[in-house]
Symmetry: C2
């Protein structure tokens, strides 16, 4: 494995209005922090291009929603914005991107319930260069497998303590699902509910497209994603792309979706904040759509997405 | 909240055969440790009485099983045993128990997938004095509510990536369930599967007892726990108590169990390694058995459990 990219670390700290810079190459967390001992905390992963975070407000809002789901009192959005600015400026200063085209930073926000017995959360921003793997997968596309998530699609409504729809640090199952896929030679996973609905990827939202000729000969393009109330995470990238696609004349649709809907689509993508729009070439070994149309639609949507702030 | 008890911290480190003592009052974990960023790791919580860990082998074996479920290469049992011995000896030296009756230490074993991009796990032992809360609940008993765990009772077999039966650091749902119970004035939770089977507590195993007169006038006592293949954690305390109870003439039984089985029982307990055998007074507001019989059975089983090494 290659050595990790340098990380710039900024703790949110009331004594430091712009955040407190700390050396990420040294230990900075207590072993009794409940983020570490119980995965009891929340996070966001964002992309900064040319020093500017994409969809910052949507990420801060989702972080707030996750905090609410976990009864976690986290710092206000202004404190996050200042610490993010400090982290990005410091990273760009200490580790300038080799070329403008590579000026992509991953900005991660983390808030934990803090040290056991303490009253306040631990909150930090970490900034590092975006790896090449994500950029590569945008180009080459993904082989994906379906995996059962174990939950039925109604459980989120009736059991809020399951924290579905909150982005918690308890990601062991998501990581195990990705390892399971890789052992089978696949790149990624699309989770299904126990009642057979399409949910989401372990770290992404599922999108599909249909292209049809309408009666008057014009082309109708439709972009579809699973409905939110099935207990999936609201995708900030999906939300932003839907807005842009609608403005460009696409029709929008929301599930329920079944596996066959994906297999029948003209294109399927996994979309997430850092890897962006990664086309799915195959699901469970079955080709999705045609390479030419997939490429054309990916280019069109990627272009729309690039216009998002 | 009271200030946390002093923690003795010992890292497993190939350069230190007996473990490397570290100052737990200072940060010792990297923020990029995947235990902290993804709850990607495993743990055990054990009780040491008079300096000796109860059921040490069973805990080490379960830690090994959890590691296997997560494809995590952790140090061998001998390294854990040495670090545990160092941690306990150091704690007893630095913080002697005020009285022999309070000489109970909580010994926690943690192994994470390590720092992102690194090849080796982070592994440590932390030792602290057992709090009074657990001892109190053994005496006073618990008010419990049923909560839906969202999974059906067959999912563990068909979806190993859900890591049911592994004790991972991804405990956010368990913690949220306990908070949900406390908001309702209850002390603890018994999870049910989506198909209505009794599973386990967020940090404990469920036991129930029936006492019956047999045809020949003798008393038959039966101790019952949910069957393991429903995706619950194999309880080290339940396992040890069952062995001791069988030797003392109890009959043993294994689920499937439904909520009504608990409501109809003569006694119900939540059993775990530190709190031990905590009697359940009420479930969803309904009294379980009678106080007198509950007290008698709790005393008998607690006595049997005290003989376990």
């Amino acid at each position: 494995m290659s050595s990790p990219a340098p990380v710039v670390l900024v703790f949110l700290d009331p004594a430091f209005p712009d955040g407190r810079l700390a050396d990420a190459s040294r230990p900075q967390l207590m072993v009794t922090d409940q983020g570490a001992t119980r995965g009891d905390g929340i996070f966001e992963t964002m992309l900064a291009v040319g020093g500017s975070v994409r969809k910052l407000q949507a990420h801060l809002d989702r972080l707030g929603g996750s905090a609410e789901a976990l009864d976690l009192a986290i710092p206000g959005q202004d404190a996050w914005r200042r610490a993010i600015a400090t982290g990005i400026a410091t990273h760009r200063d200490q580790h300038p991107a080799p070329t403008a085209g590579e000026d992509e930073l991953v900005v991660k926000l983390v808030a934990t319930r803090g040290v056991e017995g303490a009253a306040s959360p631990t909150a930090w921003v970490q900034v590092s260069a975006a790896g090449a793997a994500g950029r590569r997968q945008r180009e080459t596309g993904l082989d994906v497998i379906f995996l059962d998530r174990g939950y039925d699609s109604d459980v989120a409504e009736r059991a809020p303590w399951l924290l579905l729809g909150a982005k918690t640090l308890s990601y062991a199952v998501n990581m195990a699902a990705l390892r399971h896929a890789r052992k089978q030679g696949a790149d990624d996973v699309i989770f299904l509910s126990s009642d057979g609905r399409v949910l989401e990827g372990p770290t992404s939202t599922v999108l599909l497209a249909h292209v049809e000729k309408s009666d008057d000969g014009s082309t109708v393009k439709r972009l579809i994603t699973p409905q939110l109330d099935s207990g999936i995470l609201p995708g900030t990238s999906q939300g932003a792309l839907f807005t842009a696609a609608k403005a460009a004349g696409w029709e929008l649709g929301y599930g329920p979706l079944e596996p066959q809907d994906l297999l029948d689509a003209d294109a399927v993508w996994l979309i997430s904040s850092v890897r962006l729009l990664a086309p799915v070439n195959r699901i469970d070994g079955k080709d999705i759509g045609t390479p030419a149309l997939r490429k054309e639609l990916t280019a069109e949507l990627t272009g729309l997405y690039a216009g998002i702030e």
